[in-house]
């Protein structure tokens, strides 16, 4: 009984150690990546995006801080960026994008798509 328990323990410690060390490595990598992440600001006012053209460096992860100044919620949406997120009225949120190849990536506010239009330009 105890022998089999011992056996199963020795069997399991190998993979567990690997998983543990991978997790530790991953957390270091993500911490490192977080420290280097560039942050840009995007404001929503009167169902418009400011700035409507968001210029960011290509091939680099970017943190967009979206600040909604309107009394209504809005949804940041972009098919090109594969992003979709609701931002409550009078509040802010964070959306990570990239690393992006050089190019233009349109986005819009799904709740007010007629006016809320913008584009991310990766240079």
């Amino acid at each position: 009984m105890s022998e089999s328990a011992m056996l199963s323990m020795t069997k399991n410690t190998g993979p567990m150690l690997i998983v543990l060390s991978l997790l530790i490595a991953l957390s270091f990598v993500t911490e490192l990546a977080k420290a280097e992440t560039l942050e840009v600001e995007l404001r929503i006012r009167d169902h418009l995006f400011f700035p409507s053209t968001l210029i960011i460096p290509a091939n680099q992860k970017v943190k967009i801080r979206v600040i909604n100044e309107d009394p209504t919620p809005e949804e940041f949406e972009s098919f090109e960026l594969n992003r979709e997120k609701v931002i409550a009225a009078h509040s802010q949120t964070v959306i990570f994008i990239g690393p992006l190849e050089v190019g233009e990536y349109p986005f819009f506010g799904e709740f007010y798509p007629k006016t809320a239009q913008g584009v991310v330009v990766a240079k």
Partner: protein, 276 residues
């Protein structure tokens, strides 16, 4: 604003309606194949709709708190958890689905099946309903003339539900063998979709590392087109998925494909049918 509300509500209702139709088609198959009304009680549908709407309401009322948690990525984490749970339950549903005829076997499994279906539909309504409530609540709260938006929502919901009904009749209009094949295929694609969405949300939250885009089919089928939207709601179509998303999708697909019900669907059905 009218058209805007139609499109928005339609998108949200569609996903939940399609999942519900798929599960109802499975129930119909089971009742037909076993010759008994194993899951005859429709209560589970009502239960899940009420639970889903109630949870969506709670979610909406705590929206800011959820959104601000985890350093402003609380929404992604919550939704990724909901998608992961849905994926797991769809796979579990496939594995629990009875392939033997014995009444004991069917009764034994029916409770598990109902549990899976109730939770999957509840989570789908929670996911989609909370977004509609955000949209609707924001507009009503502002005191605008909300009537066109309300009508738009009703029209959108109507089209969404109709599409769901259409799918149900499309699935059940086939012969029983083909119906099972189509249901299993759709179930596997839905499980894959849920897994892929969970990965996408964790990418957006920066909880998972970036992986390159697997392909770009936006020229072939744009995500913003009507067909693209339908494919997105039905099977989680994305024009530019990441490699990690595609891997998760295939994994979800795989776990349903290797389930007993899937093997039954693609085996020489007539031989197996006598054993059901």
């Amino acid at each position: 604003m009218f058209l805007n509300a139609v499109v928005l509500v339609l998108q949200e209702i569609l996903e939940a309606a399609l999942i519900l139709s798929l599960l109802l088609a499975f129930v119909r198959y089971l009742n037909l194949a076993s010759g008994e009304r194993v899951l005859s009680r429709r209560n589970w549908v009502v239960t899940s709709i009420i639970a889903g709407v109630f949870l969506a309401w709670i979610f909406s009322n705590n929206f800011s708190r959820i959104s601000n948690s985890f350093d402003y990525v609380g929404l992604e984490i919550t939704n990724a958890s909901i998608h992961s749970a849905s994926c797991f339950l769809l796979v579990l549903f496939a594995w629990l689905f009875p392939v033997k005829r014995s009444v004991a076997h069917l009764n034994h499994r029916s409770l598990g099946l109902i549990f899976c279906m109730v939770v999957v539909v509840t989570l789908a309504i929670l996911r989609e309903g909370s977004e509609i409530m955000q949209f609707g609540g924001g507009i009503l709260g502002q005191g605008q003339a909300g009537l066109p938006i309300f009508y738009g929502g009703v029209v959108g919901a109507g089209i969404g539900v109709s599409t769901g009904v259409l799918l149900y009749y499309a699935l059940t209009g086939l012969s029983i063998e083909n119906s099972l094949k189509a249901c299993v295929l759709l179930l596997s694609l839905t499980a894959g979709n849920m897994a892929s969405q969970a990965i996408l949300l964790l990418n957006q939250a920066d909880w998972l590392p970036f992986t390159p885009t697997a392909w770009d089919s936006s020229g072939l089928l744009s995500e913003s087109s009507v067909l693209g939207q339908l494919a997105y709601a039905l099977i989680g179509y994305e024009a530019t998925p990441s490699i990690m998303q595609v891997s998760a999708y295939l994994l979800g697909l795989f776990f349903v494909i290797i389930s007993p019900i899937s093997r039954l669907a693609w085996s020489t059905w007539h031989d197996e049918a006598s054993q059901i």
